[in-house]
Symmetry: C2
Subunit: 211 residues, 2 copies
C-alpha cells in the first residue's frame, strides 16, 4: 500500500519555539521523520505488508524514502495522492511527527479492512489514516477527526477507528516532549537526550527541562 | 478480578476551575465516575470477566458500586488494595476520570496475562493497571508511569503496556474537554453538552467554548 508521509521542512514545528531555536527545530523534526520512516520500514519487513512509503514534502529533502515535492496546502497535496476512482489503489497517510510510532502501533492502522481507517490525534486531529474509498478526502483544517468521520459517513463508507496512544501523540508543543522522553527510544529521543532535555516534576506535573 | 476505582469527591478536578465552578466540577467528576463504572459493568457482562469493581473514595459517595472509604494518600490507599502475598488475588486500578473509556478499551487492560499491566496516561501518569505480582506497589507522585515501569523491573515481574488513546486520556484540564466532546457519548459528554460546551477552532487549534 502507498503510504504518504507529509513533511514541511521549511516551517518546522513553530510551536516548539519556546524551547528550540529554528535550526534545532529543523533537526528535531527531521529525526521524527526518520523514526516514522524506520517504523514503517520495519513493519513492512516483519509482516510483509507491501508498504510503499514516500515523503510528500513542501520542499526537497534528503531522506531514506522517495520524495514527492508538492508545495500546495497539506489537504490539497494529500488529496492528490488518495484514490480518485474505484480503480485506484488504496493509500495511507501517516504524519511525520509521530515520534512514538512503533511497528506494532502502525500495524493496527493497517489491520482493519474498513473503507476508511482513522487514528485520532489528541486535540481533534487525524494523525494517520487509510483510505480505500475514492469518495473520501481529507480536510486537515480545524477538528479534522470530526470532519473525517463526517466525510466518511457522507461517502457511505465504513469506518474503523484505531485506539492508540502512540499514534495519537503528535509532537507539536513543549509538553509533548515529555511523551518522547518517556515512551520513545529512536533518533528523536536520542536527539532530545543529547540536547540536554530531561523530565522534571513541578507541582505534581511532569514537564521537561533543559540542562 | 477486583477493580479499584479511586475517587476524591472532596477536591474535585481543581485544574478545571478556569471553566467550571466547584459545584459543577463535583457534578462533572461524578458523571465521569458513572461512565467508568458503566463501562466496567458492560465489559463484565459482555465478556464474563468476573470483574468486581468498587470505588475507593476519600469520603462516602452514593454510586452504582460498593464503596470503600480511605482518606489516606492515593498511593497508600491503593497499595492497601493490591496483592500483598502470592496467595492474594490480583487487582486492577482504573482511574475515575477516564471519560473516554469504553468496554473495548478496558478489555485491552485485562487481556494480557502479564504480572503487571500498565496503561500510560498522557503527561507521565498511569491511568489504569493490573497487578498480579505481590512485589508491585504504586507510587502516583510525579512521573508515575516511569516509576511503575521501574518498580515492575525491580520486582522481577513481566510487564505489558496497553497502547490506548482512550485509556491515556484522563480529564484534568480545559483542553481535555475537547476529547470528551469529540470521542465520548456517555453521561460526561451529555453533561458538558447540557452545560453549553462546544468545540471551537481558534488559530488552527481546537478548543472548547461555553455558550
Amino acid at each position: 500500500m502507498r503510504v504518504v508521509v507529509p513533511f514541511a521542512p521549511d516551517r518546522p514545528k513553530t510551536r516548539l519555539a519556546p524551547v528550540l531555536d529554528e535550526a534545532e527545530r529543523a533537526e528535531f523534526a527531521r529525526t521524527m521523520l526518520d523514526d516514522v520512516l524506520d517504523a514503517l520500514s520495519t513493519l513492512d519487513r516483519e509482516r510483509s505488508l507491501s508498504l510503499d512509503p514516500f515523503v510528500l514534502s513542501t520542499a526537497p529533502v534528503d531522506c531514506d524514502a522517495p520524495v514527492t515535492v508538492d508545495d500546495r496546502s497539506l489537504s490539497d497535496a494529500v488529496n492528490a495522492q488518495l484514490p480518485d476512482s474505484a480503480d485506484d489503489p488504496p493509500a495511507a497517510v501517516v504524519m511525520a511527527d509521530l515520534a512514538l510510532a512503533t511497528p506494532d502501533a502502525l500495524a493496527r492502522l493497517f489491520a482493519p479492512d474498513a473503507d476508511v481507517v482513522l487514528a485520532p490525534g489528541r486535540g481533534g486531529g487525524t494523525n494517520a489514516l487509510v483510505a480505500r474509498d475514492p469518495d473520501f478526502a481529507v480536510d486537515y483544517h480545524g477538528a479534522s477527526f470530526r470532519d473525517h468521520r463526517e466525510i466518511t459517513r457522507e461517502a457511505g463508507a465504513d469506518l474503523a477507528v484505531v485506539d492508540s496512544f502512540r499514534l495519537s501523540t503528535d509532537v507539536d508543543e513543549p509538553a509533548d516532549l515529555v511523551e518522547v522522553l518517556l515512551h520513545a527510544d529512536g533518533s528523536a529521543f536520542e536527539w532530545l537526550d543529547g540536547a540536554g532535555f530531561e523530565l522534571a516534576v513541578a507541582e505534581g506535573r511532569v514537564e521537561v527541562e533543559r540542562n
